[in-house]
């Protein structure tokens, strides 16, 4: 039973990364009509920024500030990408956005691989979150519990920002009809840039959260992004809550698979995608592409 709970926890953690990443993909796709292939590379950058901040002799900035600084740094990097490259794709076929961001991902991952090789570098768990507690039925490492709860809070906060605030209302309106929203005096291009920054920042945040668990590697996001694509195909990109729930649910299913049939744990998400496509081709949240 212990092993089952442990795998469930691992599943919940992977699920929180799926949720944070697919959430960002959905927000970006809504505004920019681009599937951000560079999302995995930017997730990796988030982890690396935290690593640099900690290991730089002059800065040695720890985990807690990194949790805020890394998403901002990567978010700014993302906004520069949007201003200098992505914005020129407006009006072109969606596929060009995929190709461009794939190229960006190759560049970013290649540069990091050149300097850091392919092996992982450890990132220590902050002192406050070390150790674990005994819940009676299982032993819970505090850091892992923290990752799940914190991701959940961030996801809900993002959902609240987009669905319940005035800024979110502008955002949703601009997704529907950018020209009309511009006519009301809202600076839509700036909003697009900020949206890309937000989506990318969420990816970087997931990167920082995963650094103590999965180590910091240049290719840590390369395979993850493909799984997240499958998550997005399953859940659809129509709804924010849909992305969050699908992300967590698939993580849990993956965890269960690790316990009951470990051989299939790498493939279960893809197999589920195939099943969903066969039964309900539009994805679970149901909006046609």
């Amino acid at each position: 039973m212990q092993a089952l709970y442990a795998q469930l926890l691992v599943g919940l953690i992977n699920g929180s990364f799926y949720a944070l990443l697919s959430l960002g993909l959905a927000v970006i796709f809504g505004m920019l009509n681009i599937i951000n292939f560079a999302h995995g590379a930017l997730y990796m950058m988030g982890a690396f920024v935290a690593y640099f901040l900690l290991n730089n002799d002059y800065l040695s900035i720890g985990y807690w500030p990194a949790l805020i600084v890394a998403p901002i740094v990567v978010g700014i990097f993302g906004m520069i990408l949007e201003r200098t490259m992505l914005q020129w794709l407006t009006g072109l076929d969606h596929l060009y956005g995929l190709l461009l961001t794939f190229g960006i991902a190759l560049i970013v991952q290649g540069v990091f691989q050149n300097y850091f090789g392919s092996s992982g570098m450890p990132y220590a768990i902050p002192d406050q979150l070390k150790g674990g507690m005994n819940l009676g039925f299982m032993f819970l490492p505090i850091y892992r519990g923290w990752v799940v709860i914190f991701s959940l809070v961030v996801c809900i906060a993002t959902w609240f920002l987009i669905e319940k605030t005035r800024l979110g209302a502008y955002l949703r309106a601009a997704t529907e009809n950018p020209t009309l929203v511009r006519a009301f005096g809202v600076n839509v291009p700036r909003m697009i840039t900020l949206t890309y920054g937000l989506g990318v920042g969420l990816a970087a945040l997931a990167g920082v959260l995963s650094a103590p668990i999965n180590q910091v590697r240049p290719l840590m996001g390369a395979d993850l992004i493909i799984v997240v694509f499958a998550v997005v195909v399953i859940g659809g990109m129509g709804s924010i809550m849909g992305s969050i729930i699908t992300g967590f649910a698939l993580g849990v299913i993956e965890g269960l698979t690790k316990y009951f049939y470990p051989e299939a744990s790498n493939t279960v998400v893809f197999v589920l995608m195939v099943l969903v496509l066969l039964v309900k081709p539009t994805g679970l949240t149901g909006k046609a592409a």
């Binding site: 599937i35 050149n114 195909v233 893809f270 496509l277």
Partner: protein
Amino acid sequence: MTALTDDTLPVTPRAIRDEMIVFVVMALLLASVPFTGVYPFFVMQALCFALLACAFNLLIGYGGLLSFGHAMFLGTAGYCSAHALKVWALPPELGILVGIAGAFVLSLITGYISIRRQGIYFSMITLALSQLLYFIYLQAPFTHGEDGIQGIPQGHMFGVFDLSKPTVLYYVVLVGFLAGFLLIFRIINSPFGEVLKAIRENEPRAISLGYRTDQYKFLAFVLSGTLAGFAGSLKVFVAQNASLTDVHWSMSGEVVLMTLVGGLGTVFGPVVGAFVIIAMQQYLAGFGQWVTVIQGSIFVICVLTFRRGVIGEIAHYFRRSL
């Protein structure tokens, strides 16, 4: 939504005559390679990738479907052929057939699944399917996991042609490439190809004209996948191994890059693109991961400034379709 290729010139007898002339020149140039002292292994490798890129281009350039998982056909056919040659000890021609059959079955299954969604989702689905296959091959016993199938016997094609001789192998690969290329050329200029182009330009209109567009796209997918498998089978004889690299997503990305560099939706673009990218990898092999960075930069530059590709720009300049 703007179409991927903006130069849609009508298919006229003159255009086809132009393309046939270019084809004959290309065939003669390639046939003379063994007499020039150019390293034949390099050209053979490039020819296999050129055929793969042409097959991929059939789907994106004429069907508007961007497959991000074409490596799965290359790799699957490679594994099937390698297994048939080494374990079953079949002659080369049957080995190739087994590989093609493998890719054909795979394209039936994956096509049935992925054709259900359009545009960007189609790309993500094909990518996810190829990753699924990658993990299956990683664990399956017959692929030998990380080691791959190595030391594949080359044998005698039709009992006559000794494939262990580089020159003989070169001409066999060349004939295979030219046959595949001509078949694609024929498909593009057939009524079926015209309907595909119509679907690419405006799918709702094609539907309203009474075409069952899903069936056309499915057929295009199967043709493309099977031809990509043919390229994979040929590659087994050149590389004499079949490994996980051929199924990996980065291979799918390279195929996209070759076609993009040469020109999406051009007849000869993928061939030029394949030669450019393979040559680049050859010369930059000593630079390690910088090759990845350079490939990424080419992606970015092509998308931002050079969307027609090499052949597309030339064709646009001369107002011809190439």
